[in-house]
């Protein structure tokens, strides 16, 4: 071996090599990603934010949304949802592709790169996409004067945090399932859609009947949205709730990402 391979260096940076390769692939889809991650929530913002915003404004002013204009009220949720769908896409597709469709992970694992590093690299790249999309979207919110610049800049990390939480769960399932046939449909229709509608996205969660509220409680979108509203518009509720939101997302990442690491390593060495 005369190529000068430094295994210690690979052990330190291997996950970033994988993330780099992933980002290279992701960036080939720039246009589509921009349309999906930014265009889609922008449609919601314009149609619901402006359209329903007028209704809300005319009937109750800002009393139902804590003194914030309606379009601004939904902005943190849409931002978090952008992060969630972005991280989800980049966790699910590359993982199933890597294990099953084109078996790229097995090629990567034939080098000194480990299963842990592959899982971590895929996750980092997914989060990088969310950071990119959410940042662009945030700038658009400023340009359209939906929110004011200030502590609202923290909406970016908060949204990405929520995306990372949901994405870690998807990373695990994508690495776990052997038959992906119905997986995407189920996730899209029975998880993403209800989560989007019942997580206090378009109205405060507590305006829903109590038996529907648990959907929001378990949803990372609700926790990220609440955190986002707190950092962007100030927070009037009990401060322990903010800690709960934060911890919920942090624990979700710790558990699901930990399980993902183990699952990647297991499936690769079968």
């Amino acid at each position: 071996m005369n190529a000068g391979i430094d295994v210690k260096q690979i052990q330190r940076f291997g996950a970033f090599y994988i993330a780099g390769a992933r980002i290279r692939s992701i960036s080939k889809w720039k246009a589509i990603i921009a349309a999906v991650d930014i265009g889609n929530p922008l449609f919601y913002l314009i149609s619901v934010g402006i359209g329903i915003g007028v209704l809300v404004q005319n009937h109750s002013g800002t009393s139902g949304t804590g003194g914030i204009k309606y379009i601004a009220f939904i902005a943190p949720a849409l931002l978090a949802n952008t992060a969630i769908t972005g991280v989800m896409d980049e966790c699910i597709f590359p993982t199933i592709e890597g294990f099953k469709w084109r078996k790229l992970f097995f090629a990567q694992n034939a080098t000194p790169i480990t299963g842990y590093q592959i899982a971590t690299g895929v996750y980092i790249a997914a989060i990088a996409r969310a950071i990119f999309s959410v940042s662009v979207y945030y700038v658009l919110l400023l340009i359209f004067n939906v929110i004011d610049f200030g502590t609202s800049i923290l909406l970016i990390p908060v949204a990405v945090f929520g995306g990372a939480a949901f994405g870690s769960v998807m990373l695990f399932f994508a690495a776990k399932i052997e038959k992906e046939d119905y997986f995407f449909n189920i996730i899209q229709r029975l998880v993403i859609m209800p989560m989007f509608l019942f997580s206090g996205t378009f109205f405060p969660l507590n305006s829903m009947p109590i038996f529907l509220q648990p959907i929001g409680w378990v949803s990372p979108l609700w926790h990220a949205t609440e955190l986002g509203r707190a950092v962007a518009f100030g927070y009037k509720g009990p401060s322990f709730l903010l800690i709960v939101h934060f911890l919920y997302l942090a624990i979700m990442i710790a558990v699901a990402f930990g399980l993902s690491l183990r699952q990647f390593e297991r499936r690769l060495s079968k």
Partner: protein
Amino acid sequence: MSKPLISVRGLTKVFGDFTAVNGIDFDVAKGESFGLLGPNGAGKSTTMRILAATSTRTSGTVEILDKDPEKFGPLVRAHLGVVPQQDNLDGELTVSENLFIYGRYFGLSKKFIKGKIEELLEFAQLEEKRDVKVEALSGGMKRRLTIARGLVSEPDILLLDEPTTGLDPQARHILWDRLFRLKEQGVTLVLTTHFMDEAEQLCDRLVVMDKGSIMAEGSPSGLIKEYSSKEVLEVRFGSDRNKEIAPQLAQMCERMETLPDRVLMYTEDGEKLLEQIAAAKLHPTTSLVRRSSLEDVFLRLTGRTLIE
């Protein structure tokens, strides 16, 4: 003799209640071209994945460059080039991007990889395809690229799992030529195949595997000498008559195999045997005298043909 690069003792791999590899032993020396010959399901690929330090074993010991691949996976893999049975290239990336990214997984510098890519493109005869997406390549080109990719880190050992399966004859010959060059350069090759001609062309030494066990070990010519006669006479009498005539034929030669479509007669002198058959007024519809091959060795050892 210097210490072998690969040393395997009592290697066993069990999946559930199926024993894929059943207590095999072998060594591979530096610069040697070593083959695992056997039909599908013989346990070759499982053995390869264990050698590649990507799969665990149930029992036995494996040492690659003095290290246990199960304990030192990344360290062992740093010295290996792996060409899997199924090309797992990134189809969305170009030929040179695939090589570049793979080199990065070995932590190689960009400068080193760039130089290496030129060398490998020439080796794989893919210079004109450097900026073409991998999806658009033919099967043979993909295969050559996969081999080139395995060489990007200048490995001590190149592991090839069924390198020419699924390729047309011309593509196979190009690939054999490339692999032969590597052999001449002193690269240690370990390959699996179920093609006896491939094993004869490329392997200095091989083991014949069947149902997870090693049936025989030796050089291609040594194995043929040990387990088969010098020549083989193949005769056909038509599907129904082969069996009928078989008992008569059996008396004329040392050993015989009756296959569904033909009868193989093992002898030192095929022409002479054919004359004897004619003298006995048995008239085969076709006849062929050829040298014994590894196929005959396998048939002798297992009673079955390699490709079923």
